[in-house]
């Protein structure tokens, strides 16, 4: 992997799904490309967020775009469901890993179709599962516990609560993930369709810096 993206977060709320990812492509430790989008609107019901190699993500983007076009051409009113995209992606990624030539990505798929929201994960090994909250990369260690805490006792957050929680998680990741950046995008999928906001900027709180002094 050469140019890579860091964490992608996903959270189900009452009425849909939200995904968030920052807009930086890192070249090792260098924040080389600071305005790239790692969230892809597949169709009106599905969004895909990818971490890992950006060139491989662009490759997936091309494949998916062509698939969606081919499907539109059929003109039968049907479009790929989020679950279908997830299933397809699992097959593709697992097949590539089985040829020892993986697409070096961890992908989160979020969607809403027929009133039912979907949130799925696939990684470069072909490991795939669904969950009410997802996070890749550093997010799995730092953000997932925060996301899960909000979902305890079967609670489903409202859209505003989910949005705020994701912003809080992105801030934590900005503090603690050395490969992150303070600009990010958010994609919300509901029955009404896909809404991508961004790039948004995170405000960091450095107040505690004044409380700390170096003492021998």
């Amino acid at each position: 992997p050469m140019v890579t993206g860091t964490s992608v977060l996903g959270l189900k709320f009452s009425g849909g799904v939200i995904l968030a990812a920052d807009t930086v492509g890192s070249y090792g430790s260098l924040a080389r490309f600071r305005g790239i989008s790692r969230l892809l609107r597949v169709n009106d019901s599905t969004v895909l967020g990818a971490s890992g190699d950006y060139a491989d993500f662009q490759h997936l983007q091309q494949l998916l775009e062509q698939m969606v076009i081919d499907e539109e051409l059929l003109g039968d009113g049907h479009s790929y469901s989020p679950r279908a995209i997830h299933s397809w992606l699992t097959r593709v990624l697992y097949n590539r890993r089985s040829k020892i030539n993986p697409l070096w990505n961890t992908v989160v798929i979020g969607g809403c179709q027929g009133g039912e929201s979907f949130l799925g994960y696939v990684d470069m090994l072909g490991v795939a599962y669904e969950a009410p909250s997802l996070a890749t990369g550093f997010g799995a260690y730092l953000a997932q516990p925060l996301l899960r805490a909000a979902l305890e006792q079967g609670r489903t957050p409202s859209r505003e609560e989910a949005r705020e929680l994701l912003e809080r998680c992105m801030r934590v990741l900005y503090y603690r993930d050395a490969r992150s950046f303070n600009r990010y995008e958010v994609a919300t999928v509901t029955e009404k369709g896909v809404e991508v906001e961004g790039p948004l900027t995170l405000e960091a709180n450095w107040d505690i810096a004044h409380l700390v002094r170096s003492v021998l």
Partner: protein, 205 residues
Amino acid sequence: SAAPLPLCPQTTIMAVEFDGGVVIGADSRTTTGSYVANRVTDKLTPVHDRIFCCRSGSAADTQAVADAVAYQLAFHSVELEEPPRVRTAARLFQQSCYRYREELSAGIIVAGWDPRRGGQVYVVPLGGLLLRQPFAVGGSGSSYIYGFLDATFQPGMSRSQCQEFVARALALAMIRDGSSGGVIRLAAITEEGVERTVLAGSDLP
């Protein structure tokens, strides 16, 4: 020119867009290890009349890919009966660089002018992704000037401002990077054509 060590893009290359065209620049040093094999290399390679590529990485790899793209573009241009788009050239580079990413060591900046979108700069780094940027740098020397670039770049610069920007940036990189040096080759690509300049010795900013 001789192929440098693999995975060591020993160069500084740069391209900036302005309204009406692009300014591209590169140093002129090719090294095999620490010996300067060619001190007057031309790393600004035309792939079509108004489309150039700046090459970093393995000289052999980039020359081979650039040759192939130049051929494809020439053919495409004849079929199209009009000048090819810069984006097409960039996409052709990306297709080769992505497909053969494991075998190639090529960091390429594609820049040029076409009648549809004017001046454009695209970057195809190691790994084979494709991205359009207002300006792009590449090569080992680029690491030393990110700070300068971040502090100095303004969108909407004129052609002469761009040329000065590129010259200053390259000069700074060449001082600090042992793998970059020699003269600064600049080219300004516009609708009127390609104007090449060489900044050497005392001309260096």
